[in-house]
């Protein structure tokens, strides 16, 4: 596998979606290519960070108000 092949398969590799043969080929390349190894590591960190914290949450008072409205609306329609 070449650098561009690893790059094309990076998302599948991170997501564990590559077939066994392709994964083995990618890992073999990564063992000898520092640039691809860094790219993989950075992308993995990126994905971990992305799942770390949802930046926007409902304000607690808005949450309570919305739930009241929803229950009022669906209760009226049911």
């Amino acid at each position: 596998m070449r650098c561009e092949d690893v790059f094309d398969n990076l998302t599948d590799l991170l997501d564990g979606a590559l077939d066994r043969e392709s994964e083995a080929a990618a890992l073999e390349h990564l063992a000898t290519c520092e640039r691809c190894e860094i790219t993989l590591a950075e992308t993995r960190t990126l994905v971990e960070l992305a799942g770390d914290e949802r930046p926007t949450r409902l304000d607690p008072s808005a949450r309570a108000t919305l739930l009241d409205r929803i229950v009022g609306e669906v209760g009226r329609d049911s």
Binding site: T43, L46, V47, A50, P55, L58, A62, S78
Partner: protein, 175 residues
Amino acid sequence: MSTTDGDASGARVDRVVELFERHADSVFHVAWRILWSTADAEDVTQTTFVRAFTRLDQLRDDGRERPWLLQIAYHSALDVLRRRRDVPTDPAELPDRPEGDDTERVADRRATVALLQAAIDDLPGALRIAFVLRDVEGLSTRDVADTLGIGESAAKMRVARAREQLRLALEGVLT
């Protein structure tokens, strides 16, 4: 209404409350990432759970409840965009984040997350929402595809392009 009807109706309301408790933040977040407006995202959150109530019969697999709700939220948010613009809306034309909302940058992990959030905000709309669904909200690629109404390979490509743009935007910060 008979007692049985009342019980069934009450159970449906309880189910929507349960869904809201579990998924309101995700629904609000996805709507906010599309609309950049807290008020509009709250409206979409309300609309989503009201619509979910009317469609509860479609939800047969509890494991699919979040992608199902996010799909409703996504389309509800696009409805708001259409009303704003009064024209058909393509996800590729999701609005950019307004200027003047800079993210605080300090040198720790939390700041790196903040940098990432700012970089996500700068992504083109179609890539941004695919990335948010996949990597922030944790949906599978298949669920991203279903939510956006696109093929799985297209969803995978959008996520891959988003990840690469973000990696480049945060080069030197991620290692």
